[in-house]
């Protein structure tokens, strides 16, 4: 083998261990799951003993009202939290993007929720939502209001998990937006001031459009994450009351452990995976498109030199 060729191979050699781990840790389970989704498989059986049922699991899912409800709850949840988080996160970033004393401390405080383990967040909120000793209801009753059935009424429970998620994940959008804002060309913003833009006009015509690439990627990342949310809701409501907060990952968990239908659970997981793959692919396409555009612009600029 020539030296040049050996040199070309070097990077792959270094990548090989990681590739191997990826293959074992990622593709093996996925293949396993895809295979399992075609089986009528009960946890007491070994996988070899399970009956092959073809696409029955998938067909069953589509006529299963509980699954459809769960899908709907998940989509509703993802749409609402991501919208709220984007609005609040970007809004806060626009508000706090200035050099006032103490601002760095404030910024650090804002991102704390993101660093707490999800289980802890769930427990914390569950205690705060507690019907009698929770801080919310205690405050309400001490002010003379009726206590609110935070986690025991379907609509309130849905609102409660949204509040907790918004509390935990708005900081993520906040720090990314703030970073985007602070890397904007300051002279373009100054030019817009000279051109007569008010604060709002600067935001709408200059800052937001320039932040857009970062915002789109942030949105997709959050969307992917919000489809996978599990721990916080599991701890807070375990999907209840009824099916009101039973997002897909809880449904999958229950199907496997409570209903003992591993095949069906695998089919659900695969559907969720497809949704996530579509979102990830959308992000990939967006990034590629941006790159191509930048390339085209550079080429055009060189033409005119």
């Amino acid at each position: 083998m020539s030296i040049a060729r050996a040199n070309r191979m070097t990077p792959y050699l270094f990548l090989a261990p990681a590739g191997l781990v990826l293959l074992i840790a990622l593709f093996y389970p996925i293949c396993y799951m895809i295979y399992a989704s075609f089986l009528d498989w009960n946890p007491s059986q070994r996988i070899g003993e399970a009956d092959w049922v073809g696409i029955r699991n998938y067909v069953k899912l589509f006529s299963d009202d509980a699954f459809r409800e769960s899908m709907w709850v998940t989509i509703k949840f993802a749409a609402v939290v991501v919208t709220l988080e984007m609005i609040i996160g970007v809004g806060l970033a626009l508000l706090l993007d200035r050099n006032i004393r103490g601002m760095s401390v404030l910024r650090t405080l804002f991102i704390l929720p993101m660093m707490i383990a999800p289980i802890v967040v769930g427990l914390m909120w569950r205690y705060m939502y507690h019907p009698t000793v929770g801080i919310f209801n205690q405050t309400l009753t001490s002010w003379g209001f009726e206590p609110i059935p935070w986690l025991s009424d379907g609509s309130w429970a849905f609102a409660s998990i949204i509040i907790a998620d918004v509390w935990q994940w708005t900081p993520f959008i906040f720090i990314l937006s703030l970073a985007a804002l602070q890397s904007l060309p300051s002279s373009a913003i100054e030019a817009s001031k000279i051109d007569g833009a008010t604060g709002w006009q600067q935001i709408i015509y200059i800052k937001l459009p320039l932040m857009l690439p970062v915002l789109i990627v942030t949105l997709l990342l959050r969307l992917i994450d919000s489809f996978k949310v599990l721990e916080v809701i599991l701890v807070m409501t375990n999907g209840g009351p009824g099916l009101s907060t039973e997002i897909l990952s809880i449904r999958i968990n229950r199907t496997a452990s409570e209903f003992r239908e591993l095949g069906e659970a695998a089919a659900m997981s695969n559907l969720l995976l497809i949704v996530l793959l579509i979102l990830t692919f959308a992000m990939f396409i967006y990034n590629k498109a941006q790159e191509l555009r930048a390339q085209r612009l550079r080429a055009a600029a060189e033409d005119t030199e």
Partner: protein, 357 residues
């Protein structure tokens, strides 16, 4: 268009004072150039006038309005930034029309104005392009165009030509001078390049360490620099400075150094009697030397040919001097030539205060 006055203007960044008690008056329609070495506070001054930088003390008057606390948009200005500051997400037409659209001018008028300005700046073919699709010179013209489409009372420029190559810079300089003749607006222009300052300015303000060293017309600054700094900054090649002593010889004051004695003209000598027998700094422009066989004998250490003129590096009393001569008769390195200096073309400065005598 009103005149602009800066009164006791001051700017501190924390404990650092960048501008200290700046006073300046700019007449209506005047082209004022702020010039000085990098870091002397030119941009800071301009940005305070624009309203992009807060004022620590003093006033900025436009007409009889104190604008020092107003938002930029209330000051009726247009500005061209050193790094162009184009809006990356808007095409050229949108960049140029942004201010007009914010002002809710009607669309037909906007189009007309943008077309007109694009025409004069040779940008018509690029109206649909984004800034990233343009070369440096084109971006610079868009930045200029964005200011020109506006009917602002005052135009501010912060080193707008410094990122261009020499040829384009010369072209744009001429374009700017023409434009000022045409529109006759107030223009305040910041540069560190004295040639730009000399060619463009009706009035030149030379700054150093946040202070004005001298303000006046290009001729004034060249002929009568108020101090050694201005004398050294204005004019190219740079003025020669030599240590000398004033002494009287046969009733005439002479600037005397090692191996030379330059008789001062009566006009120069007037009022210098009190400085007799004191040390002075003698300033001689390279162009003030004249070949004369009766003059001082000077070795040619280096001859730099630059076209119609050549610059000779020589020595006078053990100190380096540059001499500008006509290139007609070639001078070679190593030769010796004789030069005289006219007594009314020298400048004298106090060695301590550096003020002109």
């Amino acid at each position: 268009m009103p005149d602009i006055r800066l009164e006791h203007l001051r700017k501190d960044y924390g404990a650092v004072t960048v501008i200290e008690d700046l006073n300046l008056e700019m007449a209506d329609g005047e082209f004022t150039v702020l010039v000085g070495p990098s870091g002397c506070g030119k941009s800071t001054t301009l940005r305070m006038i624009a309203g992009l930088e807060s004022v620590t003390g003093g006033q900025i008057m436009i007409g009889d309005r104190d604008v020092s606390q107003l938002e930029p948009k209330a000051r009726d200005l247009a500005m061209v930034f050193q790094d162009y500051a184009l809006y990356p997400h808007m095409n050229v037409a949108k960049n140029m029309s942004f201010a007009l659209r914010l002002a809710r001018m009607n669309k037909a008028d906007i189009d007309k104005r943008v077309k007109e300005v694009a025409e004069t700046l040779d940008l018509k073919a690029y109206l649909d392009r984004k800034p990233a699709e343009l070369s440096g010179g084109q971006r610079q013209r868009v930045a200029m165009g964005r200011a020109l489409v506006r009917d602002a009372g005052t135009f501010l420029f912060d080193e707008p030509l410094s990122n261009l190559d020499a040829k384009l810079r010369g072209q744009m300089r001429a374009e700017l001078a023409l434009m000022h003749q045409r529109v006759g607006k107030n223009m305040i222009y910041v540069t560190h390049d004295q040639i730009e300052a000399m060619t463009l300015g009706d009035k030149i303000v030379v700054m150093k360490f946040g202070k004005i060293m001298q303000a006046g017309s290009p001729e004034e600054l060249y002929r009568n620099p108020a101090n050694k700094f201005v004398a050294g900054f204005i004019g190219s090649p740079t003025m020669n400075f030599l240590d000398a002593e004033l002494s009287e010889d046969a009733g005439t004051l002479h600037a005397k150094g090692e191996g030379f004695a330059i008789p001062l003209s009566a006009q120069k000598a007037a009022g210098l009697q009190s400085h007799k027998d004191r040390k002075v700094t003698l300033g001689i422009r390279p162009s003030s030397f004249a070949e004369d066989s009766a003059g001082i004998e000077m070795p040619v250490i280096l001859s730099e040919y630059i076209g119609a003129q050549s610059v000779l590096i020589s020595e006078m009393g053990g100190q380096r001097v540059a001499i500008e001569v006509n290139s007609v008769a070639p001078v070679r390195t190593g030769e010796t030539r004789n030069f005289t200096v006219q007594g009314d073309e020298v400048h004298l400065f106090d060695p301590q205060s550096e003020a002109a005598l």
